[in-house]
Every structure is written in structure tokens, then in C-alpha cells.
């Protein structure tokens, strides 16, 4: 403990489970917020600081960036799912008026339909399209395996030349033998195979970049989840110093995990711009967005679960096949939500390569897939032993937050009115279901934030990472306003320019928990400087000064208004940098969530209407309730889409995605929306000085599972495959009828 370190006592957890901890924290760190903290700005419902700019169109997204003399870049793409490239010739394309440059993309083989083979830049979009049409590519078409069933078939065409099989994976999982033996002995064994579909990210704003050179300096406007990542990747790709690159992402129209990387198109935009001596914009169209920017892998999950007659979980085995397209990483995550004995889980993961665009991280990667399977087998097991599915979860879940959420959620949804599975009759049948989630989202270094206090009393907070629409900018402003005792309107927040201090990639729900503590520390340090000026001016001890309600004063009221205090600043501004330190002790190592669904099934048409979702979510201390609710709503909506509608459809004949649009790729609309009731838990999770945890991803995990349980309850049959469209519901109903 250095001289400046100090000891603080905190209360972590929540009302039903308080934990007192003692911490040693360094001098520059404010005392962390905990369960006892009283807030005036934090936890309120604040419109996002850029709301007005967004709704008036003043906010400029990458698509809106139009520079003088700017060219339009785009790609000629292969119309075959697998082919050898004999030649790519852009000579004729270059003769098209307006076409300025062409860069063939060197490769000898194409492995999915829509893979780019040549990049072009032209003065107008029409000229670009005309140029693309003139690119002469000669292919030798090869057999393909665009769908998981095709890739798993005997003698399937090989997706990767250097592999013996399209399947690769863990082989015999750990504990396989113990689990198999235990299953033999179990009182009851339930088996099922759950299937999930490929879902695309379907961001409203497609992937896009604008590249502009000034001498050897490059400015990139790009729609990204990682401004700093783009900077280093483009520096690598172009072999130029990172120091020469500025990446700007002022506003962003969705990423959901698909925009972590610079993408091939960003470096190409920069190359084209260099070659043409003019700025170049590349903005993918909807078809390109669906087929070539990532997706959530599908899965086939074969499960066996042993349970005792009194409902305790025994051995669990699951074999998961999933396709990452030509990429890597297609695991369905089956996390330890419920209390399985650790050595009693055997999880085998097999990746199935297909001739399709590579997967990308997508909102809680692997979790919605895993959740659908796990909650399916949980519901089936509960049914098999004649136990209420909620009760079954309660007795197998020791997480205190979720236990609270189970009982709160049950009350809100009216669980006691839930009838036995399949006991409803008539055309419209109602049912209820439940699903759970776990997520990390604790954040950590590296994140730095600058806070500036100006002589006129205004305050600025800056970080160079991006606000991907989740409201990170507003989170910073709220934290700074709280720390300085100001109303939110006094604080201007800036994000999305790599000239500002470093910040995280927006992934794993870590942006807020990474930058908020740095922002708070920056405000704390800046505020401390201001307090010192006031203390000197008034002749009081700086330690006795509080920053509250727009004043800097002692408890007795001796002090100055914030504006007055700022006039004491000599040098024009106070500027302080806050740095995110690594996590200290947390209450739990992640966040907990539970969702309940009520559905109504039209048994004549097989249509499912989600009547209500009750989403109970923990995200540490809630910084901005309005945005946190908005994150929950968004997660539930995406989860509902996953449950009932969204599905990438690949043609078995020629391997194209057939619904690479917003017509047959079905994203729910207004009329498909249920009532969403959002219950947030202010849990002092500790870990950082704001106690905030991420909320972006966990909220989309259990929605489909809860809906599946509700359908099961309503019709007395399980739909084992997502999305649970009318055809599948009708099939499940028919099967139940014929089984009677």
C-alpha cells in the first residue's frame, strides 16, 4: 500500500444479498459507487445526448459522408458457390466512362457465392454498376456444399482444399465416459435434438467506409465497432504507420458483432483512393450485407440429460454441429446456468465448413443457440418428471439474482395461472415459458477518457471509441455529470475519433463498463483540481468541499456556484485523464437474466403471437434507465425475431442465399411486437468505480427459449427447430394429434 492508497468499505450485491467488502484503492481513484450510494443523475431516465441530432437527420453516418470529388467503390462478385478462377480481367471495365480504377483480388479459388473477385472505383454509382458488369471473370465451377446438411453428407464436396473433411472438432469430449455411465444409471433420461438457423446481423446501416488521403495521411470514416482496431488493421494491410491514420465513426447504424474488423473493403477503399487520387466511398448493398459480412452460425445439438425423480440435474451430454461458413468458430455456448455437477457435462463441438460467407461474432455469440437447446431439454425433463418448469429451474439454480428474478417474473407474468402443457383447447391457445441467461460484461482496461472543465463552466468528456448506438456517449456524460454535481445538459460528450484517448472495441457488452469508470476517474481528477482552486479562494479545506447541485461548497454551505468556481481557472481549462484500472472484487463474475414469455398460438394457421415478454435483467448499477430499457427491448426484439422469423435460406442447388433482402429475410415489424415489460435490477456488482456492467448482449439470449417453452405449454408439443414458423407449429400439432 503506497502512501496515497486508501482503504474503503463497500456494500456490494442487492437488498436480498448484501456483501460488505473492504478495498484498498489508489489515490487517483474515486470511492467506488455501491449499494449505499445516492445519485442525482445516475439511474435516471435520460434521452440520449445525440437524440435530437439522430431524429432530425443532423447526425451524419458513414453513408452520409460525401466529399468533393468522391468516387464510388464496389465489387464484382462470383456467381458460383465454389469455383476455380481461371482469370479475372478488368480491361473492358476500365473502358467504361467514369470507371477510374480496378484492383483484382488475387486468389485462385472462390468458396462462396458472392465472394468478391475485383474492386472498382467510378465517378457515379451507375458507372460503377456498368463497370462491374464488364469485369470478365472465367471460372471452373466446382460442386459445393452451401448448407449444413450438404456439408455433412457422405462424399460431400470439400469446402477447404487442404482438409480431409468438412467436419472438424473436439472429438471425444472430456468426461464423455463418466457422463455416459451416469446417464445409464439416471432415474430418467431425456433426449432431444434441437436445431437453430443461421441468422444474419441485418444492421440497418450496411458496412461502409470512406477513405481520403492528404499526402501520406489517411482519414477513414467507417461504420465500425472498433475504431482503434480499424486503425491498426488498415495500417497493417497498407503497411503505413498507425500514426498516419485517423478513424472516424461519429454515428453508427448497428453492428451486433459484424463490425469488429476493418473488413476487406476498408483497406480496398484506401487503395482505390490512393490509386485515383480522390476520396472513395464503399457502402455495401443489402445483398452484400446479408451474404458477406458475417452471421450467427446454425446448430444441430443432440442432447441427453439425466434427472433424478425429485428433479435434480444429473449428467448432461450434448454434441453440437454448427457451420461457420468458410470461417472459423461455430460453437453453441452451453454455459453453466444451472447447477450441473461439473464433471457431469460432456460437450462436443464439431465445426462444419460450408460454402457460405464466414460467420462473425453476433450479439452474445453462441449463447442464443445454446440457450435454445438447454432450455428445451430442461422443459422436456420437467415434463418427463411431472414438475413445473419454473420450479425445476429454481431447484437447480443457485444464483441469488436469478432466484429473485424467478419469483419477481412469475408474479408479473401471472405464472400461477399457467395451465398444464397442452391442456388448452380451441383455436387460440395460450401458454407461458421461461428461460435464463448468464453473461460477463464486466469490462476492463484499456480505456482512457479525457474530461475538460472550461472557464465558462462547460464540461467536455472525450473518448476515441465508438458509440454503436447503445448510448455509450450518454453513459459517459451521465457519469461525469454525477461526479461533478451538474445537470446532464452541462456536459458535452464526444466519441468516435481515434485522435481522442483509446477505448475498447464494442464487444462482449464491455464498452460502458470499460469507459464509464475511466470517465468517472477523469471527472474526479478534474473536479479535484477545481476544488483546490475553490478551497484556496475561500480559505477552506479542499477535502471538505462537495460538488452537488451545481455548487462546490462545504456541508455548511460555504462555497461557489460551479460557474463561478470555473472563473478561477487561469489557464483556460482544466484537463484530466482517467484510466480504467483492472477489476477489483466483484459481487458476481457476470450478470444474470431471466425472461418469461406468454404466447397465443392460432392452431388453425400455426401462427404464434407473442403476447408478452417479461425481461428481468441485472446490469450492475444502472447508469441511464431509459437506455438500459432500450437495450432490453432491442435484445428481446432480436430474440423474438430469432425465435419466430429470421433465417438465412441457402439454395441447395446453386448455393446462393435466396433471401438476401428485407422481404423474404423476415425481420419483425411493429405489429409483431409483444408488450415488453422490462425489470432492471440495480445490483452493486463492484469491479469498477461505477459498478456498471454491460447489458447489450445478455438480453437477446433467453427470449427464443422462453417463447419455445410458451408454445410447448400452449399446444402440448415441442417445436425443436428455430425459427418456429407456422409450418413447424402445424407439424408439431399434427404429430401430437396422430400420437393421441
Amino acid at each position: 500500500m503506497s502512501i496515497e492508497d486508501r482503504k474503503v468499505k463497500l456494500v456490494l450485491g442487492f437488498a436480498a444479498d448484501r456483501q460488505e467488502v473492504e478495498l484498498t484503492i489508489p489515490d487517483e481513484e474515486p470511492t467506488p459507487w455501491d449499494l449505499e450510494s445516492k445519485f442525482s443523475v445516475v439511474g435516471g431516465k435520460h434521452a440520449r445526448v445525440d437524440a435530437l441530432a439522430k431524429v432530425t437527420g443532423r447526425a451524419k453516418y458513414t453513408h452520409d459522408i460525401n466529399l468533393p470529388g468522391m468516387l464510388f467503390g464496389g465489387f464484382a462478385r462470383c456467381p458460383h458457390a465454389a469455383a476455380e478462377i481461371t482469370s479475372v480481367d478488368a480491361a473492358e471495365a476500365l473502358l467504361v466512362p467514369g470507371v477510374k480504377a480496378a484492383i483484382p483480388m488475387t486468389q485462385d479459388r472462390v468458396r462462396y457465392a458472392g465472394q468478391p473477385v475485383c474492386a472498382l472505383a467510378a465517378t457515379t454509382r451507375q458507372a460503377l454498376a456498368a463497370g462491374i458488369a464488364k469485369v470478365q471473370a472465367v471460372y471452373k465451377v466446382l460442386p459445393h456444399a452451401a448448407r449444413i446438411d450438404q456439408a455433412m453428407a457422405d462424399a460431400a464436396p470439400l469446402v477447404h482444399r487442404n482438409q480431409q473433411s468438412n467436419l472438424s472438432g473436439s472429438g471425444q469430449p472430456r468426461n464423455a465416459e463418466t457422463v455416459a455411465a451416469e446417464l445409464e444409471k439416471s432415474a430418467k433420461v431425456v433426449r432431444a435434438t434441437a436445431r437453430t438457423q443461421v441468422q444474419t446481423h441485418a444492421s440497418m446501416e450496411t458496412h461502409s467506409s470512406v477513405a481520403k488521403w492528404d499526402g501520406d495521411k489517411l482519414t477513414l470514416w467507417t461504420s465500425t465497432q472498433a475504431t482503434f482496431g480499424v486503425r491498426s488493421q488498415v495500417a497493417d494491410a497498407l503497411r503505413i504507420p498507425e500514426a498516419n491514420i485517423t478513424v472516424i465513426c461519429d454515428f453508427m447504424g448497428g453492428g451486433f458483432g459484424s463490425k469488429f474488423g476493418a473488413g476487406y473493403f476498408t483497406a480496398i477503399a484506401a487503395r482505390l483512393a490512393q490509386e485515383c487520387g480522390a476520396p472513395v466511398k464503399i457502402a455495401l448493398d443489402r445483398r452484400e450485407e446479408h451474404t458477406d459480412t458475417g452471421n450467427r452460425p446454425d446448430s444441430i445439438q443432440e442432447m441427453a440429460l439425466g434427472v433424478s425423480t425429485d428433479g435434480k440435474l444429473g449428467a448432461y451430454s450434448v454434441k453440437i454441429h454448427g457451420t461457420p461458413g468458410i470461417g472459423r468458430g461455430a460453437g453453441a455456448r452451453n454455459p453453466m446456468i444451472y447447477d450441473f455437477p461439473r464433471e457431469m457435462r460432456a460437450v462436443a463441438q464439431v465445426e462444419v465448413a460450408t460454402n457460405a460467407g464466414p460467420q462473425a461474432a453476433m450479439r452474445a455469440p453462441g449463447h442464443p443457440q445454446g440457450s435454445f437447446a438447454l432450455e428445451t431439454i430442461m422443459d422436456l425433463a420437467a415434463e418427463a418428471i411431472g414438475m413445473d418448469p419454473l420450479e425445476f429451474r429454481r431447484i437447480n439454480d443457485s444464483n441469488p439474482v436469478r432466484l429473485q428474478q424467478y419469483s419477481d417474473g412469475a408474479k408479473r407474468i401471472g405464472w400461477e395461472q399457467r395451465r398444464k402443457n397442452g391442456s388448452a383447447t380451441g383455436r387460440f391457445r395460450r401458454g407461458m415459458g421461461v428461460g435464463s441467461s448468464t453473461w460477463g460484461g464486466l469490462g476492463g482496461p484499456q480505456a482512457e477518457v479525457d474530461c475538460k472543465i472550461f472557464r465558462d463552466g462547460s464540461v467536455q468528456v472525450r473518448n476515441g471509441a465508438q458509440d454503436i448506438g447503445t448510448g455509450a456517449k450518454t453513459v459517459m456524460a451521465v457519469v461525469v455529470a454525477e461526479e461533478l454535481g451538474l445537470p446532464l445538459t452541462k456536459v458535452s460528450a464526444f466519441m468516435g475519433n481515434t485522435s481522442d484517448p483509446i477505448g475498447p472495441a464494442s464487444g462482449g457488452s464491455t464498452t460502458a463498463p470499460s469507459i464509464a469508470p475511466a470517465a468517472r476517474q477523469a471527472a474526479y481528477l478534474a473536479g479535484r483540481e477545481l476544488k483546490a482552486l475553490v478551497a484556496k479562494h475561500l480559505g477552506v479545506n479542499a477535502d471538505k468541499l462537495l460538488m452537488k447541485a451545481g455548487r462546490i461548497s462545504t456541508a455548511e454551505g460555504k462555497g461557489l456556484a460551479f460557474e463561478e468556481a470555473c472563473r478561477l481557472i487561469q489557464s483556460g481549462e482544466i484537463s484530466a485523464r482517467g484510466k480504467r484500472r483492472s477489476n477489483f472484487r466483484t459481487y458476481r463474475d457476470g450478470v444474470a437474466g431471466v425472461q418469461f414469455a406468454e404466447v397465443e398460438v392460432d392452431c388453425e394457421y400455426g401462427l404464434v403471437r407473442v403476447v408478452r415478454i417479461v425481461a428481468l435483467q441485472d446490469a450492475g448499477i444502472i447508469i441511464n434507465r431509459l437506455q438500459a430499457e432500450s437495450q432490453v427491448n432491442g435484445g428481446v426484439i432480436q430474440g423474438l425475431a430469432y425465435a419466430l422469423m429470421e433465417e438465412r435460406v441457402m439454395d441447395r442447388q446453386r448455393g446462393h442465399q435466396l433471401n438476401a433482402d428485407f422481404e423474404a429475410y423476415k425481420v419483425p415489424g411493429m405489429k409483431d411486437m409483444p408488450e415488453i415489460e422490462c425489470v432492471l435490477y440495480d445490483i452493486a456488482n463492484g469491479g469498477n468505480n461505477t459498478s456498471v456492467c454491460g447489458i447489450g448482449e445478455p438480453t437477446c439470449i433467453p427470449t427464443a427459449s422462453a417463447i419455445a417453452g410458451a408454445i410447448h405449454n400452449a399446444i402440448g408439443a415441442r417445436v425443436l427447430s428455430l425459427p418456429m414458423t407456422a409450418d413447424k407449429v402445424l407439424a408439431a400439432l399434427a404429430q401430437r394429434e396422430s400420437g393421441k
Binding site: 454498376a129 433482402d661 423474404a664 407456422a726
Partner: protein, 328 residues
């Protein structure tokens, strides 16, 4: 999209004259033509705008029945009280189509002439039979949304909601062409793939739909249009049915049952009508008629569910029409 001439005639006659030149296309609301042009499926050399042409925006009771100008929008149709009262199936059909945004632009003429939604047809990289190739990819391919009747050569389903509803009201399509006016009974308006693969409607090149005339309800009668969608916003129908009947005492007479979204063109189901004619249109009779309506279905690998769905859809359309007739 290729450059094109922009032509703004003032009268239907001038529009027809302008369209006489090969390669020109009429533009109603553009909700289908523009997407087709953007994806390169249509490349007209000239676009003839139909907005404001004399007589094409009327909606009135005439000696012919209710005359609906071809430029009337779906939004206008589904807010009109005359339509609601006298052509309830048309009212329902317009109201269920697309989204408010689309309905504000989409016109009656364009709705009848819109091209199929088959995803192979709409995909620029598939040269299927309908586009001059020699394969219907839907037969072996992904055919969840395709036809369950008359599906041997081309498996499209006709996407128009108004088609079946107009037919249930014995509509006549009034057409103006270089050779003058023609009146086409709606039953003869549709073209099956076997007759001509390249089109779905019986218009000669350059012919303009000026209006559609429908037979209004009279006496104790009712009509209804029922449609099933996977999504309740922004989606095309999986199956649809328009039904009309008149009550003779408590028995149904003069029944029309027309199904949509299940075959390359709307289909009138006379066998189902015969089952219902002379019966009390109750639940049992409606199911019996529905059974007749689905008879002969030949579903593909992935769309057998549509048969089950259609059966219920026909039943429900009949019951709604009957309930309305009882109330009239």
C-alpha cells in the same frame, strides 16, 4: 439502373400512344417497377407515368357496378366507405396488403400487374424458366413459399391480394390499347405459365388498365378476404381466400370462392362453391367447402403446410362472409 426517358402524358390515350414504342413501361406507384429496375430484371427505355390521367382516379357507382380507376391507391380503397359497404372482400384485401407506406403509393393497376415474388425469379443470378432459361429451380430447390396447385412448369404464386377479391365480385378489367378499349372478365385476365411463361396477365404489349368494375353486394349478402402471413407487418400472404355469398332464407346461394397465393394465378374453386350453395353456411358446411377447395393440391417438398393452412383460411373466409350477410 439504366437511364430511361421520363414521359408524363395527360390522358389515358396519350399514355397508350407513348407506350406503343417498344421497351416502355407504365409507372403506377412504382412499388414493384422500381425494385425490378434496380435489380436489373427490367430495363425499360422509357417510363410512362400514370399519375393524374383523366378518369383513372375515379371510384364510383356506375351502371357497370362499382368502377375503380386503375390509379386508385390501395390506401384509398381501404378507407372508402362505398368499398367497405359494397365490396368488403376488396376492402379487406387492400387493407391487408403490404404496409401503410406501400399502400399509400401502390395502385390497383400495378397491383394486378405486379410480378411474382419467387426468390429465384427475383435473384439476378438465376436464369430460370420464367426468365427465358430452361429450369424451374423451385421444383427441387427451396419451395416453402411456392404453389400447391398447378405447379409443374413454373411454381410461382400470384402475389396480388386484389386478384381473388375482384374475382369474388365478378370484376371486369377495362383495358385501353392501340386498338381501342377491351373489357376482360377477371376470370380471363390471368395467364398460366403453360400458356405464356413470360407474363401473368392477358395484356397485349402497350395495353393500359384504365379501371376495374366490380359487382357490388345486393340483398342479404356478404363477402370477405382472409389471408395468412408469417409476419403481421410487411409480408406477402402464404395463402389467401376471397369468399362471397348471398343468403336465401338461411341458405347460401350465388357463392364465390377464390383462392390466392397458392397457384400461379388466382383460382376459383367451383367445386367448393357447389358444396356450399344451398346449405346453411355454418362451421360444418364451411369446413366441407374448404375440403373441396383444397382437393387436388399437389404440394412440393416444403409446402404441404399450406394445404392445411388454406383449408382453415377458406373456412374462415366463408364464415366471415356469412356473418356479414346475416348482418346486412
Amino acid at each position: 439502373m439504366k437511364n430511361f426517358d421520363w414521359i408524363t402524358p395527360a390522358t389515358p390515350e396519350a399514355a397508350v400512344q407513348a407506350a406503343a414504342q417498344a421497351g416502355r413501361a407504365f409507372l403506377g406507384g412504382g412499388t414493384d417497377l422500381l425494385p425490378l429496375m434496380k435489380s436489373g430484371l427490367r430495363e425499360p427505355t422509357g417510363v410512362v407515368q400514370l399519375k393524374g390521367l383523366t378518369g383513372m382516379e375515379r371510384l364510383e357507382l356506375t351502371a357497370d357496378g362499382i368502377t375503380i380507376g386503375a390509379s386508385i391507391t390501395l390506401a384509398a380503397l381501404c378507407t372508402d366507405t362505398l368499398v367497405q359497404r359494397s365490396l368488403p372482400a376488396v376492402f379487406d384485401a387492400a387493407r391487408h396488403a403490404a404496409t401503410p407506406l406501400v399502400r399509400n403509393r401502390a395502385t390497383v393497376g400495378g397491383n394486378l400487374c405486379q410480378r411474382p415474388r419467387c426468390w429465384y425469379f427475383r435473384h439476378p443470378d438465376y436464369a430460370c424458366s420464367k426468365k427465358g432459361g430452361d429450369t424451374c429451380y423451385a421444383i427441387e430447390g427451396e419451395n416453402k413459399f411456392h404453389a400447391i396447385f398447378d405447379n409443374t412448369t413454373c411454381n410461382i404464386v400470384h402475389p396480388s391480394n386484389l386478384g381473388p377479391a375482384f374475382w369474388a365480385h365478378d370484376a371486369v378489367v377495362v383495358v385501353l390499347g392501340p386498338k381501342g378499349e377491351r373489357r376482360i372478365p377477371v376470370a380471363e385476365f390471368w395467364v398460366r405459365p403453360e400458356e405464356d411463361m413470360r407474363t401473368e396477365v392477358a395484356l397485349e404489349p402497350g395495353e393500359l388498365i384504365t379501371s376495374v368494375s366490380c359487382k357490388p353486394l345486393s340483398g342479404r349478402s356478404g363477402s370477405a378476404f382472409e389471408e395468412v402471413n408469417e409476419k403481421q407487418s410487411y409480408d406477402w400472404g402464404l395463402v389467401a381466400c376471397a369468399a362471397r355469398l348471398t343468403l336465401d332464407g338461411d341458405k347460401a346461394s350465388d357463392v364465390r370462392i377464390v383462392i390466392g397465393a397458392v397457384a400461379p394465378v388466382p383460382l376459383r374453386r367451383e367445386a367448393a362453391e357447389a358444396v356450399l350453395n344451398g346449405k346453411v353456411p355454418n362451421e360444418a358446411a364451411a369446413w366441407a367447402a374448404a375440403d373441396a377447395a383444397i382437393a387436388g393440391a399437389t404440394p412440393l417438398r416444403d409446402n404441404a403446410y399450406k394445404v392445411t393452412m388454406l383449408r382453415a383460411c377458406v373456412k374462415n373466409a366463408i364464415l366471415t362472409a356469412a356473418a356479414r350477410a346475416r348482418k346486412s
